[in-house]
Amino acid sequence: MSAPVPTVATVSPAHSAARRFLSLVLIHGVLVAGALFMLAPFIWMLVTSIKPPSEIFSAEIALWPKQFYGVENYRFAMEKAPLLRFALNGVIICAGILVVQLLVAIPCAYALAKLEFPGRNLLFVLVLLGLCIPVQVPAMPLYIGLAQLGLLNTYFAMMVPFFLSVFAIFLFRQFFRSFPDDIINAARLDGMSEFEIVWRIVTPSAWPAIAAFAVFSTVAHWNDLYWPLIVISDAKLAPPPLGMMFFADAETGSNYGALTAAATILTTPLVLAFLIARRRFIDGITMTGVK
């Protein structure tokens, strides 16, 4: 902290360039190390999925197998498990949940952020309280309710607990609060109803928040094992993690090569979707209609 500050005269251009280079190397070194740490399990999954069974259990760490066994592992996984079916289930569930979440949360968040009505703050407190309740708490009543209605083993059963996302309401409310009141008032003067203001004026400006929430929501429900495990027993309806579990139990035993190959196949759509959505975060529609 208290390092002597070199005066302007003592720092030559070469010296300052070297210092800048050194600090760049240092910063990037730390970042790369962190990234490797987080990517390691993922890389290990990719590596294992192309190894033959004999090499998987060898003690030495090798990033490339001596014998390329990828084709066999992937073929085995694709033949023995309906992986595309699992992936499709995942897409249906994630898309269904996300669409309903947005349809419900955006108007709620707008009302909490921009409309004046009695009890607004109380409702917002309730939303915050809702954030504190883990999904396991209402699991039993939901299960019993769905069982009574005969809705177990349906897509609907897998999606219904997540239709109301208090997290989304909270996130969008925070985002909408910074939306200029003048624009909303201008829309009111132009004759728009509150619903049209929500969907035609406010939502288009919220794309960065929507994209961020879409990633959270999709990742959470694509990878969710807990709830599908409770309400689904039919393998045809299984989303990816549950499908993996069925696959691991029944077909593969300890064939880790095939198992990681299946995991790779089921992770790919999510990684691709994230890479596509990533641009949205960076672009971010700026609120330049004002000032």
């Binding site: 008032n185 132009d190 004759g191 728009m192 288009p204 529609i285 700026t286 330049t288 209609g289 004002v290």
Partner: protein
């Protein structure tokens, strides 16, 4: 076209009273400016007229019809906001067309999929296109129609906001500090444009500003507000030449009016810095009176001050401001613990005064404004025959 009538409008936010019973009659086609320091309630008043806020008491009528029960867009008013409030994701064309699509298309004709089913829609849209083009041409926006607001300069955005207001031919234009975000040069230019637009459209304009120059230059009448009430309503020259209170006098005019402390002497005669003036007031002896002197009524006194009906005092030049065509001279009141005075004068006059020089400043007593201790304007009472014989005393 429409008159706007406000009767005893009151509004409070929580415990804070923002408007305390405002009455205002605005004539058809009038350019009326609400001016006042920030927080005086002028913006709240204009938002009540627009229907964006609801008053706690009182009534708003537009064109003689009460509008209190009407929603903002049903009141046939358009508003231009300080922040322009353009829809950021829409092009200029869509921004200007929006009020028309809202009023001319039914809800189902605006919905993304259903609208394809409407045969009429195309005809209506063509009409809207034509109206948008006409408005854009009036404001020289033709070449910008496909841009987004983010790609426009401040002045261009302001014109788009005007276009969006104009396009539906409202009876009343409400403008909430529309020029505040523009740079000084553009503001002067837009003042002229707005005044011309008002003349061309013939609509009623209600204009909110904290800038007294805008109020003075554009308006037919000015309502000066403070603390939720109208202090004075009149033409710009009435406000400037006969301010009803100290607050109005201080707010209107640039540089601000000079205030000198006078006191009431024997027989009601005013004394300035201990020297009797030829003005007398009704106030009791010993009371303080503020003497308002506009910077252009001050002049340099050369040699011995003399003359009936003229007051004078000595001052020391602190700073000269060169505005090109004129000078603003800032003086300290020599040896007195008072705010200084400013004088507006010609470059030739200013050249005669050097920095830190002691000078004598004089003014015509008839041209000054008198305010009682409570800030109300007071009129001088004649001194009768004696007035003419008074010779200003020497220091």
């Amino acid at each position: 076209m429409a008159t706007v009538t406000l009767s005893s409008i009151a509004k409070s936010f929580g415990a804070t009273r923002v408007l305390g019973g405002v009455d205002l009659d605005i004539a058809d086609g009038e350019f009326l400016t609400l001016v006042g320091p920030s927080g005086c309630g002028k913006s709240t008043l204009i938002r009540i007229i627009a229907g964006l806020e609801h008053q706690d008491g009182g009534a708003v009528a537009i064109g003689g019809q009460p509008v209190d029960h009407l929603r903002p867009h049903e009141r046939r008013v358009a508003m231009v906001f300080q922040s322009y409030a353009l829809y950021p994701h829409m092009s200029v064309r869509q921004n200007i067309a929006l009020p028309l699509t809202m009023s001319r298309l039914k809800l189902w004709q605006r919905l993304p999929l259903l609208r394809a089913l409407s045969g009429q829609r195309r005809t209506v849209m063509r009409g809207i296109e034509a109206d948008v083009a006409a408005a854009a041409a009036q404001l020289q926006l033709d070449h910008l129609l496909d841009r987004k607001p983010a790609q426009l300069s401040g002045g261009q955005r302001q014109r788009v906001a005007l276009g969006r207001a104009m396009v539906r031919h409202p009876d009343v234009f409400l403008m909430d500090e529309p020029l505040s975000n523009l740079d000084a040069k553009l503001r002067v230019h837009m003042r002229t444009e707005l005044a011309e637009l008002h003349k061309r459209l013939g609509a009623t304009f209600i204009y909110v500003t904290h800038d007294q120059v805008e109020a003075m230059t554009m308006s037919d009448r000015v309502a000066m507000m403070d603390s939720g009430t109208i202090l004075q309503l009149g033409t710009p020259s009435q406000l400037y030449e006969r301010p009803a209170s100290l607050k109005v006098a201080q707010f209107i005019g640039s540089p601000a009016i000079n205030l000198l402390p006078a006191s009431v002497g024997a027989g009601g005669r005013l004394e300035l810095f201990g020297r009797p003036m030829s003005l007398a007031v009704q106030q009791a002896q010993g009371q303080a009176v503020s003497l308002g002197v506009r910077s252009e009524t001050l002049s340099l006194v050369h040699g011995e001050p003399s003359g009936t009906g003229r007051a004078w005092f000595s001052a020391r030049l602190r700073r000269k401001e060169n505005l090109g065509s004129e000078y603003i001279l800032h003086f300290d009141l020599a040896g007195r613990d008072l705010p200084g005075v400013t004088m507006r004068t010609s470059p030739a006059q200013a050249a005669g005064v050097s920095e830190a020089a002691e000078v004598t400043l004089g003014f015509d007593e008839a041209a000054c404004h008198l305010f009682a201790a409570d800030g109300e304007r007071i009129e001088p009472r004649g001194l009768g025959v004696a007035t003419a014989s008074i010779v200003p005393l020497r220091a």
